[in-house]
Amino acid sequence: MASRLVAMTRKEFSQLFRDVPILLILLWAFTGAVYTGGHGISSELHEYPLVVLDLSRGPASRELVSRFRAPYFKIVEYAASDAELVGLLDAGRASVAIVIPPEFERRVGEHAARFQVIVDGTRSTSATIAGAHIARIASELGVELLERPRRDRAATVPQVDARVRVEYNANLVETWFAGLLEVLNQVTMVSMLVATAAMVREREYGTVEHLLVSPLRPAELFAAKVIPVITLVPLAALASVFGIVHAAFGTPIRGSVWLFYGVTVVYVFAMASLGLAIAVVTRNLGQAMMLLLLILYPMLLLSGAFTPPESTGAFMRYASVLSPVSHYVDFGYQVLFKGNGLAYVWRDVAGILVLGVALFGVSVRRFSRLVG
């Protein structure tokens, strides 16, 4: 048995190593793609573009405007008219506008000043958060205006100040997160694609008939297809984590590298098995690709990297237990980024392992039945 497996595995390895375009694509996946992907997106809530229409032009309005500053806001324009302001919002150059009415100065003196805020609601979360920042600015300045004339006396207004500290990523640097996510996603995509393709190719070329009449058992055949992927992808992921995410983006790697490597091997096994399962139920690469997209995109987008699990519906919470990607994303951030050990992530590891074995078993069985 061992010699059969070795022979088949050797064939798979040499086939992969001879395919220069695939090797180049793999190289790009774990270098260039990670670098551009980590850099490409920005945080939605940073330097929110703001346009100001100040009709009061007094010291009070200037003070209000000066409170809108980095990191949350960036004043892109002082508009001279309503039309200009609307134009900037329409064109998407500004996402929030403040309008300070002419009587603002006088009303501040009477402790009853109002100003108008217009938020572009397209990105609803950002709009909510921007509204929250503005509400805080207004509330703080309002209290200061009340206290100011009576500074000599001790009496102040009762207020709660929140002292905020952010753990693990004090400045909420987006590239730290995005770079790592890109590596995890590449592991997912590449493992599935390469395994699916290795199997579909045999079917399309008709060489699968050769394999069927050979003494090779389905489990051995599938193991031989999976082994090259398991060997190469985790090493590439490790190199990418250190060579790009850590070296180029400065993301701190706090956890155990060996734990990450070991679980990545199991994960690649699971995803490659899923890829094989897809290959078994389809007839050609085109069909396999469509099915792959149907499975891959929901798993990537609902992995918990974009929306926390507690915010999704009950259906998705249960479905994500069945998605190896959700477990792996949670595992990856916990281990590499938070420095957590096995005691924290064993559930994820167990989930990946169980799903991997199940997927492998299912695809081998389906394939055997196809043959028998």
Binding site: P21, I25, W28, G40, I41, S42, S43, E44, L45, H46, E47, A112, A113, R114, V117, I118, V119, D120, G121, T122, R123, S124, T125, A127, I129, G131, A132, A135, R136, A138, G142, L145, Q159, D161, A162, R163, V164, V166, A170, L172, F177, L193, A197, R283, N284, G286, Q287, M289, M290, L291, P298, L301, T307, P308, E310, S311, T312, G313, F315, Q334
Partner: protein, 375 residues
Amino acid sequence: MVGDRILAIARKETRQLLRDPVYLGLAFAVPLLLLLLLGYQLSLDVKGLLVAVVDQDRSPWSRQYIDAFVHSEYFRLVAVLDTEPEAQEWIRSGRARVVLVIPPDFARRLSGHERAVVGVTVDGSFPTRGQIALGYVEAVGALYNEQLLRAYLSKRGGEHAAPLQMDRSVWYNPTLETKNFIVPSMLVLVLMIFPPLLSALLIVRERESGTILNLYSSPAGRWDILAGKALPYVGVSFLDYLLIFAASLWVFRVRFIGSVGVVSAGALLFSICTIGIGLVISALTRTQLAAMMATFLGAVAPAFTFSGVFAPVASDPVSQLVSRLIPATYFMDVVRGNFLKGGGVAGYAPNLLALGVYAVAVYSVAWLVLRKRIG
């Protein structure tokens, strides 16, 4: 006639497509299923963030403060803990995303008209989520402070309103529903993923099976081959667009205030561009597998990052340049603008023009690389 040769090739491709009904069916079913699944399930709204509280004051004041968090839809209280290290552990294990620490002098300070300080710890391992959590803490805090202020002012007599107030209005998506943002994005996403993957197999498949020699020896020129192969697939992806557009309006009931004609013109031009990108890759690769992976990693993934589908494109010059160089950015502007902002046909002319120029450029490149292979 030149047109005859194009049509002949297009007819052959169509027939081939119809002979694999599973593939053709999947080409329509998968985008629609993705839209239904993600449209309903992918909410970018962060709600019910897990919050743990360390209440060292245990007074009516501190309970009222905690209530302000619990009663907002933004947070869900998971634990009231005794010590700060315990709370840190909850953040570490991911059981809580936010921890509030209320000091023992909280009630004494507030009742004595002083400022009280509350410690807030936020898990920053997912930065966007961390920023949202910070924003929510501010929102709830500002509301609570306003209540304090109002109570204080009414006790002092005279004024009751806050000294500085804002009147907020939300434009373009007044109800702040994520679906108005997600569903149009899905339209762009589907048209950036599927057409290039479909067309990336077209030339390389003939090369793999050897039938490309038939094409080479036929009177069909490079342009005939490209146009003939692109035509049926542009049709498929335009039908995909119509399906998804219809589902957006009638299944998801997304707000649409723009011009159907402009969006359709954009979708047609964008499909022509992305089909062309697939053809370029198909002409350059030797195996279907390589073509598929190159399209996935070289065309689909960058489009995903640099068109601002879910998160805005980074503001550094390189990212901005890349985003200006891909067609998805222009189509995204057209779609998002027409769904939410309206604004007339003329406003979108530059975007449509950019897509047209892009299409010409892509097919010129395809024309050039196809020659190399035949030569």
